[in-house]
């Protein structure tokens, strides 16, 4: 079983996530093959690999949008199948490749997550979130009038509105034009650092992995083939 041997950080740091032989086979295809990785609290890990290597499939398993066919995930030491799915998904937030904003205003989109568990997003929290994603006066704006970069920023704010402990980012800049890519990437780095979030970011771009993450897990043909500090990513398989 390929094991992520480089996950051991400084002693005393808690493990936020650990996968144990995580596997998913769908329609006869192995999408994730026996993946065992560990992510410490506050660590930023890039999942790197070519198209079709299983990066997105792995992230979907971590958010439990898909069910593993074998293996499991431990979230703060607890088997995630013991945690109600909605609660798990609030604690492990996921930003998809595309923003998928719901028709209506920015404000309504931000309130969606908290409203799902009968909470109201306080106006000051909403303002703070919009401030952080660089869209301070956008609360009442209709989402149909946003640019691609703005929509992805709103989507990030919507994910953060749930106050997740772990953030999963699935190629968050891949659907954006070049000008927006760097802006959104910088924003993500800043928010992760400010909040001390544990984060897994999927990218096919090794340069982006170096800019965003401390460690890279390299996937190829659905398996983990290497796990290195991003400073050594050039020498990775």
């Amino acid at each position: 079983m390929p094991v992520d041997e480089n996950s051991a950080g400084p002693p005393g740091r808690k493990l936020a996530l650990r996968t144990d032989g995580l596997t998913r086979v769908a329609d006869g295809r192995t999408l994730v093959d026996d993946v065992s990785i560990s992510v410490e609290t506050g660590e930023v890990v890039a999942i790197v690999g070519p198209s079709g290597s299983g990066k997105t499939s792995l992230l979907r398993l971590l958010n439990r949008l898909d069910e593993p066919t074998a293996g499991t995930v431990f979230y703060e030491g607890q088997d995630y199948r013991e945690i109600p799915p909605r609660e798990l998904r609030r604690r492990i937030g996921m930003l998809l490749q595309r923003p998928y904003l719901y028709p209506g205003t920015v404000k309504e989109n931000l309130a969606f997550g908290p409203a799902s568990h009968d909470e109201t997003l306080a106006p000051d929290v909403m303002s703070d979130l919009l401030e952080r994603v660089g869209l301070p006066d956008y609360a009442d704006r209709d989402v149909s009038r946003l640019s691609g970069g703005e929509a992805q920023r709103v989507s990030l704010a919507r994910t953060l509105a749930n106050s997740p402990d772990v953030l999963l980012l699935d190629e968050p800049t891949s659907a954006l034009d070049e000008a927006s890519q760097l802006g959104v990437e910088e924003l993500i780095c800043r928010i992760i650092n400010e909040r001390g979030l544990t984060c897994l970011v999927v990218t096919h771009d090794r340069a982006q992995a170096v800019r965003v993450a401390q460690r890279a897990v390299i996937l190829d043909e659905s398996r983990v083939v290497d796990s290195v500090p991003t400073s050594e990513i050039k020498h990775a398989r």
């Binding site: 439990r64 949008l65 799915p85 998904r89 609030r90 998809l96 799902s116 568990h117």
Partner: protein
Amino acid sequence: MLARFFSDTLQLGVAQAVITLVLALAVVYVARRRGIHLERESAIALVRGFVQIVAVGSILIFLFRGPSWVSVIVLLLMMLAAAATAARRARGVPGAFVVSFYGIAGGAGLVIVLMTWLGAIDPRMASLIPVGSMVIASAMNSNALALERFRSEISSNVGYIEAGLALGAAPERVVAPYVQAAVGAGMIPRIDTLRALGIVWIPGLMAGMVLAGGDPIYAAIYQFVVVGMIFAASGLTSLISTILIRARAFSPAEQLMLG
């Protein structure tokens, strides 16, 4: 004119059928002259339709002489056949037959039972089976439309649904707009029917009652009652089927299975 030549009802019916057949074949001939070849399909459809309807008429003769509980069995069989037909139209939807049966039995069945109990449907078999079959057939169409619409809405909106799930929302909440669209799709033909009633078309039941010498006003009111029952049964069926299929669209861990 035909009635002058045939005193026997059966002979008159056969003569009317022959004349209708000649008319239909004339249309096929005209179509053929214009390069539209419908001969084979039309011949099969005409023969099949004639045999089927005469067979049903013959069966009804025996049924009408039987005990009244037979009508319950007949209506139940009709619901099973309707569920099978609707399920065929909703290919790719898991458990479509079971969902369709529950939907049709819950929608059409409830309306038939309630309206018979209240006296709006004559419980005698000669009335219960034809009226019940109209209600079941409409529920079947609405059911198929609703299921098909729900499946296509889900397929087109997988990203939005999974974005909602990823935010910790309940499946019922993320698919609520698609449930509304599906139930609406099942209801639209029934709403159009009500709107056009009497203006664009005079339904068969009313026409039959008037032709049989019934009071046209009562025939009109009773036709409205039947269309109203159809409306209620179709709405209830669409709602039940869509809610049942919604539950099957997600796994126990609230993952989208229908996409």
